[in-house]
Assembly symmetry: D2
């Protein structure tokens, strides 16, 4: 059980009838539902919720895993909030970056690359193949997940090579894409998951919802050591006397 | 909760008083205890338990994670049993290879390399540093684990680069060693954990016991897809008609 | 400039007219040509060249990089030769495993997994996308290589996660495949490269030939240290006196 | 042969007699010498060389590999220059980050983590072990490089797991450190190399100089594809007629 904050830009849903039809209460509502089905304690936050976009220190104090969906207003996310989120991830908070969040300031900050890719809006079919079946994010998922209509993302995806590549997608137009990528950053875990264009009912798909739940479980903070940095202890005297036990 | 089989060569303990003093009921007994403390269901098996060394198909059917300790009689493990264990790991069974098991047929089979290293028996101090604090195998472990007297293992350790490097050890004599290494093989997970020379009470150490429990949790089979190999379905007709929804 | 041995099973070319039409002098002849264009010194060897399949100790002494193509007679490769090849790779000799060599004893030995995959013979189109443009194996290659007619290989490809994933393929039938995979084994480098079904003129393709040349350059032995294994030097006395320079 | 720019903060050398004794013409002069011995064309640039710190667009146009040494004035590097350097690296320019450059804006930008570590100034002995002997950065290097007096850096080093770990260091005081780390970022290659505290004559050491030359060779831009991002071509008609050649 993790405490999750689902952060969503929440602009398209309020500006476009096509998107509002798919996500009448916002993408965050549907994603949050999927996560609650997994027993997680889920709150939501959106871009326009105050200067902190709902991501105050207090909200982040209560967040084990942050899920991020953004698309057209990445630049409106204040740098101070991006700093804060990066700090929390390095400190142990998990981050699930969804679809167009590849271009979010938060994801780009943690990757260090442009995170650019090819795209095409042609309602094309996607097959998301499971590359690493032993990974917990693939729990309950089949050999592939088929999504009838999607927005294509194609390589070359300018990200660092993932620590673990869980899924790779096929698109009918000829492209491939590393669609499920695990990273460790500081004490935190980051999972990039590709599907989720706002005009298609992707987050209602049962397999996609299962992956979201798996990802939150995986990304939740562990109980490992909090490293101390800086000036280390002086060298202690080392006993190198000869009377040591040799076998 | 996993069903664990702790496999031990169990020769030194019966042949050497020094070792028998440390492990009167065998290394497997102490390791099994540590795992039962984590709520796992643990059986043991040893080299001399029949032609299958206790690892019959039935025993492996009931094994989620296999823990392996061997040292001086690796060559006495029958190839048919090695084949069987490799098959199970590729099928999802976890494997925890301890200390001198780096030279076990089972571990070498899954690595494809010589698994050679440098060693020295001089009761020297080891500091096992946590490299990846976000990894579940580091749960409840500190910045480092100190073991007062150990047998040194030193780089270069001829193994494939681990998928995740969890621990790296320092030895007072000047060597370093990648002492906690995660690998995925087929649908299975393998963890190599260095400490455990038979003349020192390593497996009574609380941190070492914690790592063993963490490792079993991590290596337990997941619920991902069982890939099907071989001749795939014919290509289906792909609808590339022009009337597709473009946004 | 590397000394290359191109090893080919060389059965299909002599048993099937279809294949003989494509490779009248054997697949090895065409691959060897491609490599000579890169200035390499190339010899060939085949399965039926004596009990050593042409891979005597002397031949291997003169081999910097071994290229391997095999398909229907993997089991006829003698284990003693497989042992020898594995030893050489661990010692620094490069290995390029082509197409159906994924099932060769040599490749499986170095991987430790089943190396299984899905396949389909339907003369389907493949797009081999460059995932890691900074890697030397991608030198002179475009964003993707298109092969009009191929035998499909599809995930899940049961190999260890590559150290570097250079290419990933798209197949018109819906599959993806990690088609260019780099591994380090011992002091040697291994590159698995997928294309190359015997009934299609794959090894005449200019891009494929460029990849072969790049791969040989990459896999050629370096000049790094030859690790020494075994009993290490005793611990020297360490000077921990207080009069050390502190800044 | 690469065109290299060695960038150095060049403050300590001008402010401290101790440092000036070791590097009378600046750290950059000694590093540049080492690289010229490898046949590279080397220029230098320093923090105080104008608003661009010597890293104008023109200078970067002529730079294949950028070597960076900085320590006490990272914050004085203008963000516009950091942006420019990051862009060049993603575009193919290599980056060698030395010692305290782990805290440089440029390196931190490309890593996405804090890049923090433990340190101690006690003139202690370091043994830099070769972990991956097959890697070209280890060419001409032995099993380990010994440096008599260094400033210790200790894990946990808060960086992403390197794509390849080439070296790991041992320090007499008890710490270990991943001292030679390769990363790919965009079309560029980054190598972090630990040794190099300004009060010790590290860059005169023959092995260190060899590693610097190897690193520049490795990091130099390749000739791979320049990926195109953005809106991809429309889906072409795919011929799925039945008359395809099946073998």
């Amino acid at each position: 059980m993790a405490r999750v904050t689902v952060w969503n830009e929440y602009r398209h849903e309020r500006e476009s009838d096509v998107v509002a039809d798919v996500y009448p209460d916002g993408i965050h509502a549907v994603v949050a539902d999927a996560l609650r089905e997994g027993g997680h304690e889920v709150r939501t936050a959106t871009l326009d919720e105050g200067p902190d976009h709902g991501l105050t220190e207090a909200a982040l104090d209560d967040t084990d895993v942050l899920v991020w969906w953004g698309h057209a207003a990445h630049d409106e996310v204040r740098d101070a909030v991006v700093d804060r989120v990066q700090e929390r991830v390095l400190d142990g908070t998990g981050l699930i970056a969804l679809h167009s969040a590849h271009y979010s300031k938060v994801f780009k900050r943690l990757m260090g690359t442009s995170c650019s890719l090819k795209w095409r809006e042609a309602a094309e079919r996607e097959r998301l193949w499971t590359i690493e079946p032993s990974h917990p994010i693939a729990d309950g998922i089949g050999e592939y997940v088929e999504l009838a209509e999607t927005e294509m993302y194609g390589e070359r995806f300018d990200v660092p090579a993932p620590d673990t590549l869980v899924f790779t997608s096929w698109f009918e137009g000829g492209e491939v894409f590393r669609s499920g990528c695990c990273y460790r950053r500081g004490s935190g875990k980051v999972f990039y998951f590709r599907p989720g264009h706002e005009t298609y009912p992707i987050y209602y798909d049962e397999d996609v919802r299962q992956v979201l739940r798996n990802a939150v479980e995986w990304a939740a903070p562990g109980d490992g050591p909090a490293p101390e940095f800086g000036n280390a202890d002086p060298i202690e005297a080392i006993d190198t006397s000869d009377d040591r036990t040799v076998h």
